[in-house]
Amino acid sequence: MRVGRSLPYVFLGPALLVLVILAAVPTLYAVNLSLQNRTLSAPQAEYVWLANYLKLFSDDRFLNALWVSLKWEVLTVSATMAVGIGLAIAMFEAATRRWRMILSVLFIIPVLLPRVCAAFVWKFSFHPLYGAVTWPVRALTGQTPDVLAHPWGAMLTVAFVDVWQWGLFFAVIILKLMEALPPQPIEAARIDKAKGWEIHRFVTLPMLKLPLISLLLVKAIESLRSFDLVYVMTRGGPGVSTETLDMYAYSQGFIEAGNISYASSMAVIMMVLTVILFTSIWKRLNK
């Protein structure tokens, strides 16, 4: 359709220009920084070219952070999808229209909360001495369980908070997707006396395959933003067991050494990994 001659440029131009500048300048700057040996304390720096990158791959803490990030991605994405699909099916099968509405509003709340808040709410609930979640254990056994002090316990607890925020939200979206499906195939399956779970396993979920994969990708992208949760709940601890890449880059660049250049090289690697990976997957999906 025709929208006038000047309008597309006037409307789209400024936004694109600003976005390109805001995306390109930091990216190029990060690449430039990563080739130097700049620190926060000393303003003068020289080019060391690829030395930072070479150092990264013999840095055990970096390799650990890479591994932790990978675990985090797999854990949170799969748990979020499982919770989302499970609760969506439960709502679809067992909730009346009215209750679906009420539950939908409730399930959207956690994802809208600041992650800092979600982290504090659960950190206090899991507090070994005063927490409400740990209370039954205290009352029954007299012990004070400190889940955040255990490597896997900390990982699972932080992941739990992430899934609490995203899994419930995804349940709402998946429910809306299911409601928008044409009812005939489901009716046909019911007439053929398919059981409830069979209908979803063989009819609804296969029909939703593409949107579900898109959702999975969205969650994978959002899982990269784990910093707030990890920072508030564990600071990467105990030890380095929950230190994700952004947490390590942050502590290298700001807390411990002020190694801005070293942190930048990590940032560049993250950027390259995620942008290339997600772009290629997204383009393939939406072909």
Binding site: V10, L16, R38, L87, V116, V121, L168, A267, F278
Partner: protein, 272 residues
């Protein structure tokens, strides 16, 4: 009722309680004294006190952070809406290679890990002398607000029937008048929801705010997280109060934009 339905309803009730209980519990804790809060067996009955709230609201750092958060978020969101909504209209109406690429570009900005933006941005703002200013955070946040506004407004404009716009043209409305007087009013509920969502995103943003500010431009989430480091003991009562205050704006926006949000999601589902 069938047994399976009953079981599923129990699961749903548990999930609902998982949302409600922690939030209500935090709300209660915000009004407890430390003596009531830091106990072995959680207390349900206690004399509520206003001390924690008063302490949080009375701190100068909080007052400043609240102003910062409001100014930074509303400016970034306003710029995002100003630039993003018209851009989304063009992408929705003109389908060619360039607009497709522009749409994907807006989305792909979300792929950038925040820390990868924060580190160079910090050095850039330090170099320009804008480090720890509201201006620096507003400009940095515009990446988030513009891209998310564009991304969520495109389906809103695609939903406006082309026939309506053609009719406006027959009535001799120019392209700009068509946008402002026809397309924008029709798409308004979803556009408002998109803008509300971008506000929530930057209101909740933590990493960039922490790395790009030290004192003057600190926003609320950062100040709230710093409260856990006051002195030796974590002041949990104060923290709970801070959590409640920080969570209020997104919840209010959810209530206000609820209807519009709903239509964004249902649109998404019919499109997919």
């Amino acid at each position: 009722m069938k047994l399976s339905t009953l079981l599923l309803r129990i699961v749903l009730a548990c999930a609902a309680l998982m949302v409600l209980l922690p939030l209500l519990w935090t709300l209660l804790n915000a009004f407890k004294t430390n003596a009531d809060l830091l106990v072995n067996t959680p207390k349900l009955i206690f004399t509520p006190v206003w001390d924690n709230m008063q302490y949080v609201l009375g701190r100068r750092s909080v007052a400043r952070a609240l102003t910062n958060s409001l100014v930074i978020c509303s400016s970034a969101v306003a710029m995002g809406a100003l630039l993003g909504v018209p851009a989304a209209y063009v992408i929705a109406r003109v389908k060619n290679r360039l607009t497709r690429e522009a749409q994907f570009f807006a989305l792909s900005l979300r792929f950038l890990p925040p820390v990868a933006v924060a580190i160079p941005m910090m050095v850039i703002w330090l170099g320009l002398g804008f480090y720890d200013t509201r201006f620096a955070l507003i400009v940095t946040y515009m990446t988030i607000t513009i891209s998310i506004t564009v991304w969520l407004s495109i389906p809103a404009f695609e939903r406006v029937p082309i026939a309506v716009e053609e009719a406006a043209r027959v009535d001799r409305l120019g392209p700009y008048a068509t946008f402002f007087r026809v397309a924008l009013p029709i798409a308004r509920p979803q556009i408002l929801a998109a803008i509300a969502f971008s506000f929530i995103l930057v209101w909740n943003e933590f990493l960039l705010a922490m790395m790009l500010s030290t004192s003057k431009a600190r926003t609320l989430p950062v100040v709230a997280s710093e409260m856990s480091q006051l002195g030796m003991n974590v002041p949990w009562g104060v923290l709970n109060a801070a959590v409640v205050l920080l969570s209020l704006p997104p919840l209010i926006l959810l209530a206000v934009a609820g209807a519009g949000m709903n239509s964004v999601f249902s649109r998404k589902s019919t499109q997919d």
